[in-house]
C-alpha cells in the first residue's frame, strides 16, 4: 500500500444542523491524531441536531480508530444526540459494539488535590513516620535479641551463609574503598598544604590529614560506600525474597527470617566495615604521603609526624565508629528489605530507601559520636 492510500480522511459537512462526518482510509494510531482534532473542532464548534458518520470507505480500523468513533458517539451523547453510523463494515461494527457506552461510563476523573487533602496527607505521612520509627526500634530490639542468642548458641549461626555475605561485603569492596580513600587523602592533604604553606607549616599537613582520616573521613567514606554497595544489596536481596514469597515460606516453615537473613548480614557488615576502614585510612595516608613527597619532604618525616600525631585512641575510636556504622547500615538495609511491598518496583524503592536512611543514620550517629568523644576526651 502506498503512503498516499494509507492516509485517512475526514470530511465534515453541516446541513440544517445535521452534522455529517465522512471518514475514509486507514484508521490507525498514526493517522487518527490528525482526524481527532478535526472531529473535535467540528463537534465543539457547531450546534447540531443530529450526527451521522459515513464510514463505508474505512479500509482498516484499529483501537485508535475505534476510539475516534467512540469519541464522536460520546460527545454527541453528552449533547443528547444518538450518532447514526452508516455503512460501517461488519467487522468494524462488531469491534465498535465491543465498547458499549455503559462499560466506558466510569472513566475515572483525576481528582485535583485540595487544601484539606494536603493537611490530611501531612498528618498521614507524619503518623506513618512515627510508626516507621517505632518499627525500627522494635526491629533493632529483635536484632539485638537475635545477636545475643547467637552469642549464647554460636551453632545456630549459619557459617556458610555468613561467609558468602562476608566475601561480598568485605573483600570485594576493597578496590573502591582503597581508591576513594587514596583520592580523598590526596585531596585533603593538597588543600591543607595550600593553606599551611602561607604559614610555612606544611609539615602539619601530616597531622591534619592523619587525624581527619583516622577519626572522621576513614569511617565515614567507608560507611557511605558500604551503605551504597552492601546496604542496598541487602535490601534488594531480602526484598526480592519477599516478592517471591520466600519470606512467607520461612515463616510457614517456622523459621525466623531475622535469624536466617538479618543476623548473618548484620554480623558480616559490622565486622567488615572496620576492616575496610583500616584499608581506607591506610590509603588515605598514602594519598597524603604523595602530596608531602611532592613538596619535597622525605617519607620518613611524614611517617614520623603521622605516628606522633595519632594516638591509639584515635584509631580505636574511628574503628569503633565504623563497627556501629556497619551495624546501622546492615540493620536498616535488612529492615527496608523486610518491609518491601508488592512487585518489582517495590524492590527498587526498598533499595533506595535503605541507602538514604542508612546514610542519614550514619551521619546522625557520627554527630553523636563527635559529642560523646568530646566529653570523654578521646
Amino acid at each position: 500500500m502506498s503512503p498516499l492510500q494509507n492516509r485517512a480522511h475526514c470530511e465534515e459537512s453541516v446541513l440544517d444542523g445535521a452534522l455529517r462526518f465522512k471518514i475514509s482510509g486507514h484508521l490507525d494510531a498514526q493517522s487518527v491524531p490528525e482526524l481527532w482534532s478535526e472531529v473535535h473542532h467540528a463537534l465543539k464548534a457547531k450546534t447540531m441536531a443530529s450526527v451521522t458518520v459515513e464510514g463505508s470507505a474505512i479500509s482498516y480500523c484499529d483501537g485508535a480508530g475505534i476510539a475516534l468513533l467512540v469519541y464522536i458517539r460520546r460527545t454527541a451523547r453528552d449533547a443528547g444526540i444518538v450518532v447514526d453510523f452508516h455503512g460501517l463494515e461488519a467487522d468494524i461494527a462488531d469491534l465498535l459494539a465491543l465498547f458499549p457506552e455503559e462499560t466506558l461510563a466510569s472513566v475515572p476523573v483525576a481528582k485535583l488535590p485540595s487544601w484539606s487533602d494536603l493537611v490530611g496527607r501531612i498528618g498521614k505521612s507524619f503518623s506513618e513516620g512515627l510508626v516507621g520509627i517505632g518499627e525500627q526500634i522494635v526491629f533493632l530490639g529483635e536484632v539485638m535479641a537475635g545477636l545475643f542468642r547467637i552469642i549464647r548458641h554460636p551453632s545456630q549461626l549459619r557459617f556458610k551463609d555468613l561467609m558468602v555475605i562476608v566475601e561480598a561485603s568485605g573483600p570485594r569492596a576493597l578496590p573502591i574503598v582503597g581508591m576513594l580513600g587514596f583520592l580523598i587523602g590526596l585531596i585533603i592533604a593538597f588543600q591543607g598544604a595550600i593553606l599551611m604553606k602561607q604559614f610555612g607549616a606544611e609539615i602539619y599537613v601530616a597531622d591534619s590529614s592523619g587525624l581527619l582520616m583516622a577519626r572522621e573521613l576513614g569511617p565515614l567514606i567507608t560507611a557511605i560506600i558500604v551503605a551504597g554497595r552492601t546496604g542496598s544489596a541487602f535490601a534488594a536481596e531480602i526484598g526480592t525474597m519477599k516478592v517471591n514469597e520466600e519470606l512467607d515460606a520461612f515463616s510457614t516453615m517456622g523459621l525466623d527470617p531475622v535469624r536466617f537473613l538479618v543476623i548473618p548480614r548484620v554480623i558480616a557488615a559490622s565486622f567488615m566495615t572496620p576492616l575496610l576502614t583500616v584499608f581506607a585510612i591506610l590509603f588515605g595516608l598514602a594519598g597524603g604521603a604523595v602530596v608531602m613527597l611532592g613538596m619535597g619532604y622525605p617519607l620518613v618525616t611524614y611517617v614520623n609526624r603521622v605516628i606522633a600525631a595519632l594516638s591509639p585512641a584515635d584509631y580505636v575510636g574511628g574503628l569503633f565508629k565504623a563497627l556501629i556504622f556497619g551495624f546501622l547500615i546492615a540493620a536498616s538495609g535488612c529492615l527496608c528489605g523486610l518491609r518491601t511491598g508488592e512487585g518489582a518496583s517495590a524492590v527498587g524503592h526498598s533499595a533506595t530507601r535503605a541507602v538514604v536512611s542508612s546514610i542519614m543514620l550514619v551521619v546522625l550517629a557520627d554527630g553523636l559520636f563527635a559529642v560523646l568523644f568530646f566529653y570523654l576526651g578521646i
Binding site: P100, E102, T103, D161, V164, T240, M241, N244, E245, E246, D248, A249, S251, T252, M253, G254, L255
Partner: protein, 259 residues
Amino acid sequence: MNNDIIITVEELTACYGERLVLDSISFEVNRGEIFVILGGSGCGKSTLMKHMIGLYKPVAGDIRIDEVSVVASVGADRDALIRKFGVMYQSGALFGSMTLLENICLPLEEFTDLSEEARELIACMKLGLVGLAEFAHHMPSEISGGMKKRAAIARAMALDPEILFLDEPSAGLDPVTAADLDELIIQLSRSLGITFVIVTHELPSIYKVADRIIMLDAKTKKIIAEGKPEELKETTENEWVRDFFNRKGTSAGKGVENG
C-alpha cells in the same frame, strides 16, 4: 472432637485494607481428602489459603487445625502447629541461594537431630518422589517453572506433614506437566494419607484430583457451592457455578462483576 475433621474454618472474615475479601465463611476439611478451593480470579482464594496457614490475621473468625487455633496460638503451640503442614507457594518460593538438596535439608536441619548423611538421604528420597533426583545439586534458577513447583512440594513434604497446602500447583504449566503433577498429588494422597488443600481454577485438574470443593464468589464474598465436583456440575442451582463447570463465558457485563 471429631477425628475425621482436620481443619475447621469458622466465620472467617478477611479484608485487604478496607476492601472486604471474605465475608464470614465456614467450612471443614476432612482428614485425608483432597480439598480444592475454587473461584474466579480475584475472589480471594489465595487470601483464604494465606489465612489458613496463618500468614494473614483475619478480621474476625477462627481457623483450627486439629482443634488448635491458627490465629491465637503462640510459642510452642504454634511451632507444633506449623510442623503439621507444608506449603507450596505459587512461584515455588525455593530459597534462591541454596541448591534443591539444601532447600529440602534446611527444615530437617532446623527441626530434627538427624545426621547430615541421614538428612541428605531423606532429601534425596523426597526429590526422587517428585522425579527430581538428578537435579539435587542444581540451583532453583537453573530449573524450569514446573520443576520448581515439584521441588517446592518436595520441600513442603520434608518433615512429613499431615496437610499440604498448594497454591495454584498447575497454573502456568503445560497440560502434560500439569497432569503429571495431578498424578503426583493423587499418589501422595493415597500412599501417605496426606490431606491436600489446593487452590486452583484449572478445570481438568479439579475433575481429576478433587474429592470435595468449595467455590468462592467474588461478588457476595461467600461460598456459593460445596461438594463433589461431578455432583455440583449436575445439581447446582447457581448459574455461575454451572457456567464455570461447563467452561461457558458469561455476557460481558456479568463477566466483569464475577471476574
